[in-house]
């Protein structure tokens, strides 16, 4: 009797998760995969094969876009790490206990505003008639209005801004768990600031660094709003390509194939990153 109740509890607790994963993740992906494998040969006549994937390989603009998205996402991840690490170190190790909470809260505040609104915020600042451009003119530093939008630098800046929080949070939690004595021991045994950072702090924080990088990379490579709004037609983000296949060209088969290619590509990059840093998924993302 008691055993039955416990089993029932377990099943009830597991059900929402199972429903979510099966209905919203597994089934749609199976459907998309089947979709991606078929080709329209005549109205309402389909053939199954790798045609959509071959088309991707034969068209340089497609895989160039994917590689560009991948490399720019890596760049965004690197910048987010370089900016986020000192911030996280300050919050976790240098700030006092009360400041710590306040600083963490300040980091979270941007999340209360939707992505879309924040992107429009950037547009207000950076467009030709925006705040930055008119200020520069008013100061007499430039003669005419300047367009800051629609270039790669702006896209990268906007993406770093959107995702940096997801770098800071896991870093703070790993660094917070580090005993200060470990850093002091590093100095005591003769290390200088750089040695302590390279041999002790960074290796200790590695699980947090890798976790943050994975999350940030995945979010960036899969983001749509920020590259489109800040980069416009020049952004050539791969998600835009997928959108075009589905909506503009109404070519669901090819769009589904592109979706799988993006998934495979980002998974490959993450796998390579884990291999290179000697970490595993369970030691990084699962822990933080």
């Amino acid at each position: 009797m008691n055993k039955d109740i416990r089993r029932l509890t377990l099943i009830l607790l597991f059900t929402p998760f199972a429903l979510w994963i099966v209905l919203l993740i597994v089934i749609p992906h199976i459907g998309m995969f089947i979709l991606s494998m078929r080709e329209k040969v005549a109205p309402r006549v389909f053939e199954y094969g790798f045609g959509n994937y071959i088309e991707f390989a034969n068209e340089p603009i497609y895989w160039n876009t994917l590689l560009r998205t991948g490399s720019m996402s890596l760049l965004v991840t690197a910048i987010a790490l370089i900016i986020g690490f000192p911030v996280a170190y300050y919050i976790a190790k240098i700030a006092g206990n009360r400041t710590k909470g306040a600083l963490f809260l300040i980091c979270l505040i941007p999340l209360w505003v939707s992505d879309l609104i924040r992107a429009f915020g950037w547009i207000l600042l950076l467009r030709e008639t925006g705040v930055v451009s008119s200020s520069l003119q008013w100061l007499g530093l430039v003669d005419g209005p300047i367009e800051f939008l629609y270039n790669d630098v702006t896209v990268i800046m906007g993406l770093v801004y959107t995702v940096i929080l997801f770098m800071i949070v896991p870093l703070v939690s790993t660094l917070d768990g580090m005993d200060n004595a470990m850093i002091e021991a590093g100095y005591n045994l003769g290390g200088n600031g750089f040695t302590v950072l390279r041999r002790i702090i960074v290796p200790y924080a590695m699980p947090g660094i890798v976790a943050g990088c994975i999350v940030v990379f995945m979010l960036t490579a899969g983001s749509y709003l920020t590259p489109i709004l800040l980069g416009g037609k020049n952004s050539s983000w791969f998600t835009e390509q997928i959108y075009n296949q589905f909506i503009t060209r109404y070519n669901w088969e090819s769009g589904a194939a592109f979706g799988f290619l993006l998934l495979a590509f980002t998974s490959l990059v993450v796998w390579l990153g884990l291999k290179l840093s000697g970490q595993t998924l369970s030691s990084t993302v699962a822990r933080s």
Partner: protein, 375 residues
Amino acid sequence: MASNTGGDSVQHDLECSGVSKRFGSVQAVDDVSLEIPRGSFFSILGPSGCGKTTLMRMIAGFEEPDAGDIRIKGASVLGTLPNRRNVKMVFQHLALFPMMNVFENIAYGLRCAGVAKADIAPKVRAVLERVALPDVAEREIHQLSGGQKQRIAIARCMVLDPDVLLLDEPLGALDLKLREAMKIELKLLQHQFDTTFVYITHDQSEALVMSDNVAVMNDGRFEQVGAPQTLYHEPASAFVAGFVGDTNRWSGTVTKAGRGQVRAETASGLAMVCDARGGATPSAGDAVEIFVRPEFINVETGAGKSGRASATTNRLAGTVDSLLFNGANSRVLVRTEAGGLIEADVVLTGGTGDLRPGDDVRLTWSAKQTMCFAG
């Protein structure tokens, strides 16, 4: 120590003179001076919050003193960065690096010091040999037992051949049995390395067992510095008498003052002859603190009256309240006629002659062993 009194030419491994440190309104360390002869085991003993950790952190270079000077091998280290001082530290929780294995933990300091690659492995092997753990080089830190971690933490410092090794209560996290074993082992290691050890602890038995000299610290000041035996038998202040070793303690008033000896009566009405300690002999009417160690109280069975204390011996009658059995360190709690409890050491053999709660007993102890300090 006698060999080190040969004059000014004797170089001390570590000297502090007039060191002070203040945190906000708290005077953590107040005008502390010490000299530690080469190759000795020196302990700083004090209750938590007495400033001993601050003092150690100043020696290691993690804090700068507000006043005073710290000299290592005769040279002042004020303004020298922690990584440039040849003072190594074993941290309270050891602070071994969990992402490195044992070999890398020990090699870290050597690499920082720029030791040639070819020399690192032999040095690491040699130091592991000396701490009697020759086979653990390739183990991860979490695979070691508590005692092994301890020895690796010491090896990690000793491989750098420091002038002074600081140990910040490193035995605190160990269980009792292991702690007892490590006490002896630390003392042996210190002998073997022949390096000056400065050991910080709040546990008086650790300090007494291991040290050549002990400084008792309270409220940022040194109360007394001396050999363990001296601290135990000739404490310089009431704080030292109460903090070092177990003791019966009473507050009382002097009824009659003599030369070096006084008669005093405690608040609960016990009268006894005491040996005035701490320099000054109090006069009649002064408040005093009285201490008698349990091992100096003699317990005899049989009823009797609390006789008047003679010039050399104190006597009290009472009944056994309870027995605290602890093998060779067994105690008896005796309730006196006045109502207070007195602790005395007894031998409990398990035979029929042993004391039982309710027995009438007579307590006697020498006036010489009754230490009193002006309160």
